[in-house]
Symmetry: C2
Subunit: 349 residues, 2 copies
Amino acid sequence: MLMITIALDVLGGDNAPASNIDGALMALKKSPEVAVKLFGPQAMIEEELKKRGESSSERLMIVDAPEFISQEEHPVAAISEKKESSMVKGLMAVRSGEADAFVSAGSSGAVLAGGQLKVGRIKGALRTPLATPIPTSNGVSLLLDCGANVDARPEWICQFARMGQLYAKKLLGVNEPSIKLVNIGSEAEKGNALIKATKPMIEKLEGLNYQGYIETREIPEGKADVIVTDAWTGNAILKLYEGTALTLIKMIKTAITSDTKSKIGALLIKDSLKGTLKLFDTSKYGGAPLLGLRGLVVKCHGNSKAPEIAAGILQCMDFVKAGINEELSEALQKDNELIKALKEEQEKG
Amino acid sequence: MLMITIALDVLGGDNAPASNIDGALMALKKSPEVAVKLFGPQAMIEEELKKRGESSSERLMIVDAPEFISQEEHPVAAISEKKESSMVKGLMAVRSGEADAFVSAGSSGAVLAGGQLKVGRIKGALRTPLATPIPTSNGVSLLLDCGANVDARPEWICQFARMGQLYAKKLLGVNEPSIKLVNIGSEAEKGNALIKATKPMIEKLEGLNYQGYIETREIPEGKADVIVTDAWTGNAILKLYEGTALTLIKMIKTAITSDTKSKIGALLIKDSLKGTLKLFDTSKYGGAPLLGLRGLVVKCHGNSKAPEIAAGILQCMDFVKAGINEELSEALQKDNELIKALKEEQEKG
């Protein structure tokens, strides 16, 4: 049996360390093929395990990492200075091969910077986007980049499309995933300078089911399997999407419990409403992978509880088993050649 | 009595011409101080009025404009070529002073381009942003720019803040409106190149209640009176906001009518839910003004019905009465001086 080893950042996230430890135990119970290395202060982890009547084992190892990187720290500075942190040590374990993947619910900035700086990129990858699965009214779309690559170049966006294609195909099981580029209108002449420069490149990539522009208005309806954009726009979309759904649901809950008549009504619709609202729950998709790395790094939502951490751990198994990195590296290098030729042509003509 | 004359684009919008004509009649009934000039094909307008038992009068004039600019046309080309269109003739009426304002539910691109090209900017204004009132859980925020100024410069964003401030104060009645800049994180080091260049400028503008960054996640909660960003981001926000609310409400409606038990519940919560969902109805705010023009241009939503067209017409009266353009022009010129000095300082040091 192939055993896959996951490095878990015990200190990252709003509910650390309890939810992270619980998540690790949950994952171990769910799959016999997974082993977890817990990165954090040894004494603290031992005590947390003891509280739960557990202890370290062959499948549940403790790696002492006494330092912690907080949300407030400058990501790049923290990654280079805090060598004893759970994050840096966990990422280094992926680099050295002691772990197959690293999972963290900690500082997004630090995970993104650490992935690039400590794990490194596969050959051909210019940047490493964060690919976030987002719920839609008819399933799930993969939105990338939600990471740190603001002020993107057209070549990066093209790479995000290729990475999203392979991830959606191999990991989400979508046959020939449809790929769309975010724009502020569907007309051909719309867009900013980045979009106008990206369009002629992305259209020419081989074997990519590219279907043109998507307006943000269409995102909730699930009009594409993979949605590509720069990290500025991706982050703005992701956070507004979450915020709007949360606010609206909160307002509706307040409204339908505002008087006795509504309260009775609320009881009657509770079950069917619950199912619908669950569709818009981002947590069930585990974490968001950072693509294009020599190894796997998964960022879980900061407010992850045990089930989300467990899902984050278990989704790594599919990724490691699918082994997409080799295929991805080859595809990216081929795309790079094509884009280089296109650019030379443009400069000539 | 001061009579204010509004030029109305009879042909613009999904429900034209019927809703536009109905909206004009509604506005005339609501206020004795307004006169409307209907721009569109004369015979068609006369017939529409006749159907309603109405005819042209001193307060309801017809200006023959046989050409139509569609959503599909290239905005700048259409504005320069279609001189007999309802849009160009309506805008020219504002320029010449024959009308105080122009209202259209037609092609956004054409309204934006036409405003700049045909009406022209006030002294000091570098660009003319579209300021959209958006509903939040505690009222309304003004989001700008939702117009055409993609690939913005830091100076433009500063101007949008000043324009938003004056509009919110004079037209929305907000005392010392709070102003925030869209960013993808609240930490100081976050942001793209545009944000990093805008921050040191906007902070120094005088008499502006600037309160730092706003994440898109916070927008639905109404965390600022005025939200400034470039048009790329503003359009992405506006359309996603509308799309998410629509999709979610649709899904909830489907869920609560999915079985008999839920249907009974739905009847009981109907009244209280209706009130809440109305809060998120963008149409009640009439239209979005294009700021910084020598005159007023208001863009109504493409799907506007008669009440929204009427609201769009009536809101022009407040704008014209408030006469903010002189004050705005002076403030912008003062800001420009300050920004020029800041830039010179930066270049030196």
